[in-house]
């Protein structure tokens, strides 16, 4: 670079924008990719815990109990879900993920006393066998949906939307459609499989109320029914989910991951988890249903402090998808040549859609899948979940809480004006909550 006359990049057309225009001009189609939003968003890092002091009484870290159990589905179901930790595994499809990855998720969840979730494409035998508590998703595509699996599920989750693409359907590209995936989905091998954005047999909350009644009838009112929504008009969606009869609401913020979605969808649609969670809790409180209809929040949960802050804002539990995959090895600096073959590097990879996952998670290729033995993967995820749980307990004890669900908004302050406004938590050093 010439120091006398430095090159000046355009703020309107920075290098990544230029590259995307060049790519679009060559290919004539939007970019489809995996992972989640890469843009910077207000998040839980913008909140801090205050901790106990003269006016609050902390608990002794290694001596005084800080419970982590949570019960989900107490509204209508005869058999609510009992979890030992408030961290669940989010829905991820067999097809997007390989069978080994699904089994690893199930094994780790079972070892930790929490639940895992199926995804588009139905329930595999491996994940049912490896998962003590398995939530069965009912999605618009209805791929692989059958009443035998409905009846052997521990809860049902009606997926209305997903944080990475609220309002959008799915796409599993043809190169991931092996014989087994195709058979489970009743479609030919090797073709692009589109998942619808709306359910085929109901439209709107009034229909959904009857749909839930049908599912309760089929399961004899035994198991909880969740509704999963992508974070957009959260206040309305939560209220309508309550009205439709949900036992549990799963709220997925825009940082939530995906196996294959248009980049424009991932980055430009939805709202961040932080304001979405506050809006959901407000809606539940307004209806007098907070803690009666349980709230699980997902989308960008990475650390024990993220979990603790979500609980303090009023969630009953969190759900992790991307972070669980990272624990299994996603973006790990191994098999470098395979990352490079995809045109990426560890730390930047979002190539789940290609089916060439270097670490064997989002692939149907037997050679790649062999890089993730289920038991070894489960051990990694179990360690990670243990770490998260210890971190949540550490923070809760510091705030004087004998149960992690006793964390509350009053335990926190916001670092930025944006976070203060979105989370309705006062800006640190003030009693100011913008917008109130």
């Amino acid at each position: 670079m010439n120091k006398q006359n430095p090159l000046r990049p355009s703020a309107t057309f920075p290098l990544d924008v230029l590259a995307e225009i060049h790519r679009s001009a060559e290919q004539g189609v939007y970019e489809i990719r995996g992972f989640g939003a890469k843009r910077s968003l207000p998040n839980f890092d913008d909140l801090l815990f205050l901790g106990a002091s003269m006016s609050r009484y902390p608990l002794e870290g290694y001596r005084e109990k800080c419970a982590t159990n949570v019960t989900l589905g107490t509204r209508f179901a005869k058999k609510p879900i009992e979890l030992k930790i408030p961290i669940t595994i989010a829905g991820m499809s067999f097809g997007a993920l390989g069978a080994n990855a699904k089994e690893a998720l199930g094994r780790a969840a079972t070892a930790m006393g929490t639940s895992t979730t199926t995804g588009d494409g139905g329930m595999t035998e491996e994940e049912r066998q490896s998962s003590k508590t398995l939530v069965y998703q009912i999605l618009p595509s209805r791929y692989g949906l059958n009443p035998d699996d409905v009846r052997r599920a521990d809860a049902l989750e009606i997926v209305v939307g997903q944080g990475a693409k609220p309002g959008g359907g799915g796409m599993l590209l043809g190169h991931k459609i092996t014989q087994r995936v195709a058979q489970m989905r009743d479609l030919p091998e090797g073709i692009d499989q589109r998942s619808a954005c709306r359910h085929p047999d109901w439209t709107g909350p009034d229909d959904l109320q009857i749909k839930i009644q049908e599912l309760r009838e089929i399961t004899d009112w035994q198991i909880p029914i969740y509704i999963k929504i992508g974070a957009t008009r959260v206040g309305y969606d939560v209220a309508l989910s309550v009205k439709a009869g949900a036992d549990v609401i799963v709220l997925d913020g825009m940082q939530g991951g995906t196996a294959a979605t248009q980049n424009v969808f991932i980055e430009q649609v939805g709202i961040p988890t932080l304001p979405a969670l506050r809006m959901a809790v407000d809606a539940l409180k307004e209806l007098g249903m907070h803690r009666k209809v349980q709230l699980i929040v997902s989308g960008g949960i990475r650390t024990g402090s993220d979990v603790a802050k979500a609980l303090a804002m009023g969630a009953d539990a969190v759900s992790i998808g991307s972070a669980a995959m990272v624990a299994l090895g996603c973006n790990k600096p191994v098999y470098l040549e395979d990352y490079q073959a995809l045109g990426t590097e560890p730390g930047y990879c979002h190539h789940c859609h290609t089916g060439r996952c270097p670490v064997g998670i989002t692939t149907q290729d037997p050679d790649l899948e062999a890089r993730l033995p289920p038991k070894a993967g489960a051990r990694l995820l179990r360690n990670y979940l243990t770490t998260l749980t210890l971190e949540v307990q550490t923070l809760a004890r510091a705030c004087g809480k004998s149960h992690v669900l006793n964390l509350e908004p009053e335990d926190m302050v916001a670092l930025t004006i944006e976070a203060a406004a979105m989370a309705r938590i006062p800006l640190a050093g003030t009693d100011w909550i913008p917008g109130t």
Binding site: Q27, G28, V29, S141, R142, L145, N146, P147, D148, V150, R151, M171, G174, R185, D186, L187, P188, I191, D192, R194, A196, P200, D201, W202, D207, I210, K211, Q213, E214, E217, I218, T219, D220, W221
Partner: protein, 223 residues
């Protein structure tokens, strides 16, 4: 024969009994548009429902043979796996949605999205069907003895449509295909199994052009 009067007892009670001790022949009276009647059955039981039913009657049916003497609301026999459902009247939208197996017979007309997301079931409609029928239908067969509304078979995969009457407009990637003697025989067998009288020679066959099986930006207008 077991008689069950929905004017005196609830749908919940009926379904519980059908789940716990399903056997023989059941007659269900006074359905009066109630929802989710006979949902989630998994037994070779014969059920006769005397009147009109609401949403999701016979939802996810397995093995049972169910006859509805009146009309049915949305989603009748949705996600059916096996058995049969016969509706003597008309059916509302999304009849047989995502059904994987079994046979759905509609003696009257079917509203919009009949056979949407079909995954292997056979549907025979003696009358006409509404718009977007067989939308994203994957496998299975939809027989329409009357007319079809607009966008029939939109985004269809490997399902097969037989249509005797007129059609408004075909959906994206749905095309007319050659009707061979083998297809006529299959259709004749299906009509015979469903008890619907129609001349197989009157039918045309429709299916996927398979242009949308792999994304191609030059076909973007078809999506």
């Amino acid at each position: 024969m077991t008689r069950f009067d929905l004017a005196r007892d609830s749908v919940r009670s009926l379904n519980q009994r059908l789940h716990e001790s399903p056997a023989g022949h059941w007659v269900v009276s006074h359905p009066d548009g109630r929802h989710c009647i006979a949902a989630g059955l998994d037994a070779a039981v014969d059920i006769h429902i005397e009147g009109h039913v609401g949403y999701y009657c016979a939802g996810m049916n397995q093995q049972a043979d169910i006859t509805i003497t009146g009309s049915a609301g949305p989603g009748v026999a949705e996600n059916m796996m096996s058995g049969s459902v016969r509706v003597k009247g008309n059916v509302s939208q999304c009849a047989g949605a995502s059904a994987h197996g079994g046979l759905l017979i509609v003696e009257g007309d079917a509203s919009a999205r009949c056979g949407i997301s079909l995954k292997g079931s056979d549907i025979v409609v003696a009358g006409s069907v509404g718009h977007m029928s067989a939308f994203m239908a994957q496998t299975g067969r939809l027989v329409i003895c009357g007319d079809a509304g607009n966008f029939l078979g939109d985004s269809i995969y490997e399902a097969v449509i037989y249509l005797a009457g007129k059609i408004g407009e075909l959906g994206a990637d749905c095309v007319e295909k050659k009707m061979t003697a083998q297809h006529r025989q299959c259709l004749a067998d299906l009509l015979s199994a469903s008890g619907v009288e129609a001349d197989p020679d009157r039918f045309r066959r429709y299916g996927s052009a398979r242009k949308l099986y792999h994304f191609n930006s030059d076909h973007a207008g078809d999506y």
